[in-house]
């Protein structure tokens, strides 16, 4: 009797509440440990959020690049962090928003998977999303809050897109528009590429399924697709208008900056480990299944194609596909987000596999899958410790305090050897820098002409990096650049021969402050790029407002819709044969 109950339990779907509790149990402690603060970009997003916290309606940030506009980056997750920062502080606020994104991902994966597979398989997919290596990699090692925030919103929008195109549900129409717009307000690339990898397969599915149940003509499906694409495009154009204006006025023409995600992972196995093995984890073992099953079931083929293209691009320079399909964008974008999307696209099929395995091998399979999932997640979380972004961890509070006192912040500064502590320092100090970590926001020719990242790490960019640094130091008077804060004595000879002198040392003499005499106080140099006030008002209102509208719309309950049955060409598992879908 007990065994029979156990078997029944093994054949049920996993309740979504249990999936969410698992996500909380796994990720809440890690986020409370502030693990993402060690990642590449977390401090950058906290820096942006810090600006919104102080200047919600003024996107002009004077702390980097002698002034730059934050309208060059969609603001939604950073504005949410800023909003809750008075209660939790910026760091904890960031962790709270990241946690919400992780929870939303589980829901999004579940709802997205329901389009393709059975509720049981979808629930396995949702559970797998909690342990997804690429998610943990982006959260704890890359610190890509906007990507991990936008993707779940996008995944949650896709079932509404399906319902609108397939069933002309007006409620879904408005919900889809609100969610797509909010996703774009969180991360523009997710929307742009998500349209190809996620939306096209879903539309293909809707067109394919149009004859099932409530049949609908091809023309009707096409018209609905055109209508929603048009409305979403207009909504995004309006909500992110300042972003588009900044993009058209200052297109990204700067020299591409090398990034290891574009390396060939076979020729450079260390980057293969970083950008393939860690993000995919145990999913690598499932790749043959994903391809075979995705090919075998005609219904899954659109999803398979989306996965395959994202997978190939996510391999960076291992294949020429990214270079062919993205053109110049290949040298501008980083590839780990494509692997992230590929893993999300694979999850429904992985859920199907897990459902089959547990259905067939019961506790043995459940145990093995649990170990693999936990191992994948643990490896991705541990990666930030085994492969730290900042080899030397140090506090920048003392430097910030130095810059904030005695009028030192009347001048600009640049750090050398600070890695991604620059964002942290910039958040804490009132002084402005000519450097920064948001490369697409910079306009200074000394930075854009050389194909290098932040000046603080210029030596790692070889001759180009050092040329860029020298060009900037050469124009110190113009930029009011009086302070060079050095934590790497490699740069000392240059500073000495260029006329800087050490004037103070901090942090147990590990940090030296160099100064150049005769430098005038900093003045505004990029005034022509300051967005007008109306753009600031739009930027502070519409992106955030789009998320509020989306939340309100989602609170409106949807009508229960009858389920449509879809038959696969041959049975695999009784549960998977009847993937009742249409979640709402």
């Amino acid at each position: 009797m007990q065994n029979s109950e156990s078997n029944t339990w093994m054949q049920r779907s996993i309740p979504i509440s249990l999936v969410l509790m698992t996500a909380l149990a796994v990720h809440l402690p890690l986020l409370l440990l502030m693990l993402p603060l060690k990642s590449y970009d977390t401090n950058l997003h906290i820096f942006f959020a810090s600006h919104y916290a102080h200047h919600w309606f003024d996107p002009w940030n004077t702390k980097w690049y002698a002034g730059f506009t934050q309208t060059t980056y969609p603001p939604l997750p950073q504005q949410w962090v800023a909003l809750i920062s008075p209660l939790l502080g910026l760091d904890l606020g960031y962790m709270a928003i990241q946690l919400i994104a992780i929870l939303l991902l589980a829901v999004g994966v579940y709802r997205f998977s329901l389009l393709w597979v059975s509720p049981r398989a979808a629930s396995f997919a949702a559970l797998a999303s909690v342990f997804l290596g690429s998610e943990s990699f982006l959260v704890y090692s890359a610190g890509q809050l906007p990507t991990t925030f936008a993707a779940p919103i996008y995944l949650n929008a896709l079932p509404f897109l399906f319902e609108w195109v397939r069933f002309r549900s007006w409620s879904s129409f408005f919900k889809a528009i609100a969610l797509f717009t909010a996703a774009a307000a969180a991360h523009h690339f997710t929307l742009l590429f998500g349209s190809f990898f996620f939306a096209i397969p879903v539309l293909a599915l809707a067109f394919r399924d149009r004859a099932d149940g409530q049949s609908v003509t091809m023309r009707a499906c096409a018209m609905r697709t055109i209508l929603i694409v048009a409305v979403v495009s207009v909504a995004i154009a309006v909500v992110l208008l300042p972003f588009w204006i900044a993009l058209f006025r200052y297109p990204v023409t700067q020299t591409p900056i090398p990034h290891p995600s574009r390396a060939n992972y076979i020729l450079n196995p260390e980057w293969g480990l970083n950008y393939f093995v860690i993000p995919y984890g145990a999913m690598i073992l499932a790749l043959p299944y994903i391809i075979v099953r995705g090919s075998t079931f005609a219904r899954l083929r659109p999803l398979l194609f989306g996965f395959w293209i994202a997978f190939l691009i996510g391999l960076g320079g291992t294949t020429p596909v990214g270079h062919w399909l993205l053109g110049r964008a290949f040298d501008v974008l980083t590839m780990e987000r494509f692997s992230y999307w590929a893993t999300l696209l694979a999850l429904p099929i992985v859920g199907m596999m897990a459902s089959e395995l547990v259905g067939r091998f019961r506790a043995t399979a459940a145990f093995a899958l649990s170990i693999l999932a936990a191992g994948t997640c643990a490896a991705a979380v541990g990666w930030v410790t085994w492969h730290p972004n900042d080899a030397q961890d140090f506090k920048v509070n003392e430097v910030a305090a130095w810059l904030n006192r005695d009028g030192h912040d009347s001048y600009r500064y640049v750090t050398l050897g600070f890695g991604n502590k620059l964002s942290r320092l910039s958040t804490l100090t009132d002084a402005g820098s000519v450097d920064g970590e948001w490369n697409s926001g910079r306009r200074l020719p000394e930075l854009t002409h050389y194909g290098v990242g932040a000046l603080t790490s210029s030596k790692y960019f070889g001759e180009a990096g050092l040329d860029s640094l020298r060009a900037m130091l050469r124009h110190a008077d113009y930029y009011g650049l009086k302070w060079v804060i050095v934590r790497d004595h490699y740069y000392d000879p240059l500073l000495w021969f260029a006329g800087w002198r050490p004037v103070d040392s901090l942090d147990d003499k590990t940090i030296t402050i160099w100064s150049k005499d005769g430098v005038p106080p900093a003045t505004a140099v990029n005034s022509s790029q300051i967005p007008p006030r109306w753009q600031g008002l739009m930027w502070g209102t519409l992106p955030f407002g789009s998320s509020v509208i989306a939340i309100f719309l989602l609170l409106i309950p949807a009508r229960k819709r009858h389920r449509v049955r879809h038959e696969y060409p041959f049975p695999v598992n009784e549960e998977d044969l009847a993937p009742g879908r249409l979640a709402s």
Binding site: N264, S295, T319, H323, D492, P493, G518
Partner: protein
Amino acid sequence: MNKGGLLAVFIFAVTILLVVAGTRWPVPSAAAYAGGGQVSRTASSPEAAVSNLCDRIRAHAWDDAYNSLANKARFSALDFQHDLNGTYPGLLTYTNLDSFEMQPLHASASDAEIRLRLKWATVVGPSVTTRQLRVVRNGDRWQVEWPITSQPTLAPEVIPVNYLRWDVIDRGAGDDWGMQNVDAPHVRIVDMHPVQRAEGTVILGELLNDDIYPAYVAVTATLLRKDQTPIATEGSFDKISHVLLPKQVTPFLILFPDVTLADVGSVRMTPFSSLIAASADPVIEIQSQHMSPAPDASLSGQLVNQSGQVANVAHVLAAFYDSTGQVVWIADQYVDRALLPQTPTPFDIHIPEDLARKIASERTVVASYSFGGTES
């Protein structure tokens, strides 16, 4: 096989083909990370052997580079590394190999000679070293015979020093450097004139510390159009010796890229000086100075560090004069090896060929920097 099976096979096959293609012929960004663009070069030719060696040097894989050498039995891996980077910290110690060029000089079935130019990305600018390599055939592969240069080692010795030193008493810890509220040392520009060069307009000149105290100096120039509106402002940056002892003169050069001299109506010069603590140590003597005529005109000589301390980086700045005593060019060189006490270190400053014929005399000043120690 059904349609689905065929599709799966197609996806597998295409993926594998794409990976093979991407690995065999990497896209440019991947090739840059892979160190040149090919999967692995077997040392099947002299050039491939040298290229492999340079890739290893670039990757700081010293042991691998050393183990690939034909004559490694004659020296240790550390000797090899010191030969490239210096025994004592200098410009090349922490630098990276940026690029390299090979020029085959001779080749036979069993050996070859290749001139290798190594371009290092140092913090103060590119530095080029040239080595003539012999490459020998060993079975089916080629190996480089590295022309090791033994690095000088210092014998224990007591060197008495008796140098001048000037200290400055600050107001306190809160006093920023340069905010001294005392009269700045008196400096003046003793020569200045603009010239048109291919890279833009260049201001050449000399600055004299006319005071009895050492001075930190810098020079800024603003080019003005004929209607007195400014065209551009630039500083001397590192083309000047920033620390001048009393009565010392430094040449300076200010470059205005992309500015045509014909557009310039006048030049506003702004010399800057402030009081600075300084010492005459280390004294760097210039020996065997020699001008080589065009073509390949250059000023060469040897620097001898007279003090007992290692000077890690030396900067040689030379002013060249015509027969009337007017400055016609200023050139400089960073010496990429540390200056050891009492040990001659060569320098060689290139002079543009079109100017070399006008040069009648020259004056050379040397500035140096020591990591965590003394500077002058």
